[in-house]
Structure formats: C-alpha cells, structure tokens
Point group: C2
C-alpha cells in the first residue's frame, strides 16, 4: 500500500565540484537552516556515540543527568556572557520556533481591550501581528509594505498606551535590517523577533523586555528557540493558559518542565563557545560588516546586478539582489548552483537572488561568489 519512499537525492553536480575544489563541503547560502561552523559539526560528530567519555551519546543522555545538566548550564552561562545578559533576565530554550512565539507573546501579555504596537517590515512581522489580533488591539506603528518591504521606516512616534512594541530586527526575505531599536513610550516593553540576526552584532539586552529567535540561522539547528525575557514579565504573564504556553513554566523549571530538545541545546552551546572564541559579538559584527561589504560594494558597481534593499536598510545577514530580468536571474542561479554556490534563489515574494551570509558563513565564500558574479557579468556583455 504505501508508496516507495523517495531516496535522498544525489546532487550530481557536486561530484564535479568536489574534483575541482578538493573539499567535501560547498558554499551554502541557505536562509535557514543554514551553514554552521565546521568545528561545531566536527565536535558534535564525536559526541553522537559518546559524550566525552560517558559511554552514552549526546542524544541518549537523560536531560536530568549530570552530563546533560552540565551542557545546559554551560549554554546558559555562555549565552549570558556573549550578550552581557544580567540576572534581571531569564535565558530559556523552548520549542516551536518564532512562529510559536508569535502566539505566546500576545497570549501572555495582551488582554482584550489592550493595545500592542507592531512595526510591519516584512512577512514575518505580518505573521506575528496576525496572531496578536486574536487577543487584543494592534496598532501598526509603521509599514514598508508600500515598497514591497524594501526599506526600514524611519523612527516613529510610539503609542503612549501600548503594552509592548514588537519588531523584527532582520527581515530574512527582503534583506533589510534595523540599525537601532525602535522607540517605546511609557511602560511599553520592546519585543524582538531576532531569529535571523541574533548574536550577529552587539546587543543591549537591557533595552528589551523579550527577545526570541529560532535557532536555525545564527545559533544552531532548527528545533530550539532561544528566549531572553525580563523576569518581572515572566511573572506578569497570563496564568490562564496551557502550562506549556506560560513563560513562568519554563522559567521555574530551567527550561526542563518537559524534555527539552537536548541535542539542539548541545549544539547551540557549541555555537556559543564558537562565538566567544571568535572574540564575541563585537568581533562578529566586524567580520559580518566586512563580509557583507564585499558583496554590496560589487553590487553597487555592477551594471548587471542590483541590490533590492534601500541603501540605509541593508541587511548584513541576507543580501538580496536581482538583474531585473527573470530569465537571466534563473540562468545565474542555475550556473551558480552547478559551480557549488548553493541556496541563492530568492524568496518568491522578491524574486531574484538572496545570499544569506550568517555568522558561520565564511568570508572567502563571499569573495568567491563575487568572482563568479563578475565572470557571469562579463559573459553577458
């Protein structure tokens, strides 16, 4: 009765690529899940059959045992160190990604009759807003939908009476990024979906009430959501919710009310150590700026390719660009893929190309891409 299962595809072009480059890995520009530091993958590999000398693989360790508890504690301490997170905040490892946070935030904090401010800068901010309207009033403080979300609106006047102000710090699909936090007024606290640029640059956590991010771009594998939340807010959350949807449940139980995604937390802990080894967030920012500059500088000079995001709103994580001719775009993507530059196809709502170059994406990969683009451009003339 059941259909024959499809096999994992052989990507045939890769065999040829490997011969030329003598490496088993290609340049992965995927928007997420995305490239991870090779040193992290190598360490995780060693832990699958035995974590350290425990004789038990990392996925097989009880979350209540000494070995995993040490991993968990390392992850919390390193996360706090990376972003200078004070003891006024909880660091939680949850499940369900940013999409579940879209619902949990208003369920916990927005009662009927209350208002929350939402800054609309892309599809993900819209999705976050759509969950909030189920629970209370939403004021759209600003929107860049008029120009297909190609820019970040200038500083807006915040509502005096909003419970919180929600924004998406980096817009993966449209290649735009906030350069600074939006203003808030009164007791409104800042809520940020930082999924696609978390820990890519220094962040002043004390300005926020709640920061959340799915792991699969800058932090590790899909399936772990990092939540940094002010302790007083944890207590203020709605108590009339399923236990798993209250932040206090996870805060009280150190993210172990139920079995947490242990392997994901383990890998995130390795990524945290890698960030510290790189020199922390200031060093990450310097590297990310230099890396993105290589590509934007070329795009600004190119007669074939143009960046799609407004110059003052450009993301350092997702660089979106087009030729203006869909046929040429497709030809470019096809040739680039064959040459070992994977994941460059842009999101269907923007078209063209997108190079996602998160923390772990190597600088030389961008340099190689630009060389390839230059050669492609030369052929077009």
């Amino acid at each position: 009765m059941p259909e024959k299962p499809p096999a994992i595809p052989k990507i045939s072009h890769f065999a040829a690529f490997k011969k030329d480059h003598m490496t088993a890995r290609i340049y992965n520009f995927s928007a997420g899940p995305a490239v991870m530091p090779e040193s992290v993958l190598l360490e995780a590999k060693e832990a699958l059959l035995s974590l350290g000398d425990t004789g038990i693989g990392i996925m097989e360790h009880s979350h209540r045992g000494k070995a995993f508890m040490a991993v968990y504690e390392q992850a919390v301490v390193r996360c706090r160190e990376i972003a200078g997170i004070s003891s006024d905040f909880e660091v939680l490892f949850l499940q369900g990604g940013a999409s579940l946070q879209f619902g949990m935030v208003p369920m916990n904090f927005l009662a009927a009759g209350q208002t929350a401010d939402y800054l609309i800068t892309g599809v993900w901010s819209e999705k976050a807003r759509d969950e909030a309207v189920r629970f209370g009033q939403v004021r759209e403080v600003c929107s860049s939908k008029d120009k297909n979300f190609s820019y970040i609106p200038g500083q807006q006047t915040p509502s005096a009476n909003s419970v919180y102000t929600h924004f998406t710090s980096n817009n993966t699909i449209f290649g735009t990024q906030f350069k600074t936090e939006p203003a808030t007024a009164g007791s409104s606290f800042l809520v940020c979906d930082a999924s696609s640029d978390i820990f890519s640059r220094p962040i002043d956590v004390s300005k926020y009430g709640l920061i959340y991010g799915g792991g699969q771009k800058n932090l590790g594998p899909a399936g772990v959501t990092l939540v940094i939340i002010r302790k007083d807010l944890v207590e203020k959350g709605n108590k009339n919710l399923p236990t798993m949807l209250q932040y206090r449940t996870h805060a009280k139980n150190e993210s172990m009310f139920n079995t947490p995604p242990t392997f994901g937390i383990y890998v995130m802990n390795l990524v945290f150590q890698w960030i510290l080894d790189q020199g922390g967030l200031a060093a990450m920012a310097t590297k990310n700026e230099a890396k993105a500059k290589v590509l934007y500088d070329y795009l600004d000079k190119s007669k074939l390719f143009q960046a799609t995001a407004a110059a003052d709103s450009r993301s350092l994580m997702n660089v979106t660009f087009v030729t203006g001719n869909e046929t040429i775009d497709n030809q470019f993507i096809s040739e680039a893929t064959k040459a070992g530059f994977d994941g460059l196809k842009g999101h269907r709502s923007v078209g063209g190309m997108r190079a996602s170059i998160y923390n772990a994406f190597p600088h030389e990969g961008v340099v190689e891409l630009v060389k390839f683009m230059q050669a492609f451009e030369a052929k077009q003339v």
Copy 2:
C-alpha cells in the same frame, strides 16, 4: 560577571569499565532520552558534515530543499508502512513534546460544556487531565492512584457523551502498560499518549482518533513529536486558536508551516528504517517480550528484588522494582552504575529501580543486568 561554565563531567568509572568490556558504550537504562540503535547513530554521524554527497550537513539543509524534502517524505512513508497507517490519517512531526499535546488536544476538541473521558494511570495522565479541565468538563473514567498507580484498571464503562477518551498507553514512571485499548462509546474518539511505547508492538491505528508521542524514547531524539491524527478531526478542530496550535496548520503544510526540527526528523526517519529492518512491529514485540521476560522472570524468583507493578499490568518498556530497603536500593544503584549499568535509579515517586528497555535497548544488556543482580543478591545473603 558570569560564573565559570561547568565542564561536561568526566565519568571516571567508565575508564575502568571500558578496559574490562572493550567497548566505548555502556548499558543505558535511561527512561528518556534513551538508548538509540548504534547503526542509526553511525549513519547520523556521517551526515553531519554532508548529507549523502550534497556537500551540506543535515542540520544545514534548507527544509524547503530537495534533499531534506526527500528525508521528510521517506519518514512519512516509512511511518505509514510500519503501522499500516491509512490515508484517512495525517502523519505530523511537531514540536513541544507530549506536554504541548496535553494542551493542544483539549484546545482543539473540547469546548466549554463538553465532556472528555480521561483514564488516570499515572503522573502523565494527570498532567494531560489538568490541561483539559481548563477548557471543558473532565470525567475520570478510572484511576489507579489508590495503589500508587501500580496497576491498569480493568475495562470501564465509557461515557456515552464524551467527545474523546484519553489514555496513556504506557506509564513510564510506574512501569505499567495497557494490554488493549480502552472502550469508547458513541462518537467518542480515542486519544493516546503513546510516548513511551509507540512502535514497540503492533497497533491498530484505525481504532484511534489521535496518537501522539514525544520522540525521545522509541523514535529518536527529544524535540520531535509524532502525531497521527484522523483527517476528519483535523478539520473539526477549533479555528480560534494561534495558528501553530491548530492541527490543520501542520496538516495543510506537511509539517512545514514553520521550520520543522529537521535533524530530529532525519534521525526519526533512520529509526523508522531500523524498525522495518528489524522486521517491523510484530518482530519488535517478540523481541521486547523476550527481553522483558528475562528480567521479570528473575524478579519473580528473586528473594531480594520485587517488581512493583501488578503482574497483569507490567510494562515491557519500563521495569520497576525495589528491594524494600532504601539503603540496599541505593547501594545496588551505586554498584550497578560503577559496573556500567547506567540510569537505573527509579523515579522519586516510586523509589527503587527502573530499567527502561525500549526498542533499541539490546537483549544482552538485560541478560548482563540479571547476572549482575544475581551476583548482588548472592552477596546479600
């Protein structure tokens, strides 16, 4: 400011153990996360830096790309093959574990004024019930709390008007297991938390409305929840819920409304293949029965150790036992741990010992444990 992160502990006794046994892995009786098939771990290890010859590690592949889509489709097809799941059912891979399902089930199906039947056979059924009472009426069809959940109550008269009947097929903490499904009446559909015995024996899925299980016992790593749900129920679910908490969201989007836990699904797919390679569920049941019998037969003869669950309610997955003397229990656990039998400490609500021997736990591990118990018993006399 931040405390020094604790190191992953070195389990020093293991070095000695390794010398004797010439193996890098020990017997892991953990209740979950739990032991996984070594062949699965070895294959996963190879995929961390490159899935097949894609040049991209399994955690780094886009969930929308060809390679991961093939993994996902394999997982669905294999799951259907293992349990003979007809096209009347959806197979979903969600996040949040059984604990989130405790809330999602009543949120979707139990309206105010309606009644659901709950069979109370342990702490996890109580937790499931506690979420349901937030949304509607709960009738406790039966409870074995009077004897510390040491038995499964006999067949009960179902409510004529209940929306659904919820039970926990295996009680991890108390070592009891249903031998057959509870009765339902009228249009009431059966909902089963099968987290700790799913795919350990044949199952007639057509008897159920919804089966759910966290992955970390019989299916793979923590962080993926397998949900098997009748398609007509998907449509009947409450529409006035956050998008992520509606089953229809995940059914309509093939579990990819948001980024799914890709690595967890990949590993689950390998476990599914392993189950098929073992001969499927009938073969798993034969092996599990033989494996548990080794331990129960010894417990029935032993003058030192006694099984805690009623004979007709014994779990094939979690074997709970005590000596009746806490000091001797602790001495036994300590000596067993030193000898390379890990995770035998019972849950605090039962005390004593628990040997969790899920699908992937090797038969010889139980044989070795019994030898060790016999030697320990001989010393006590």
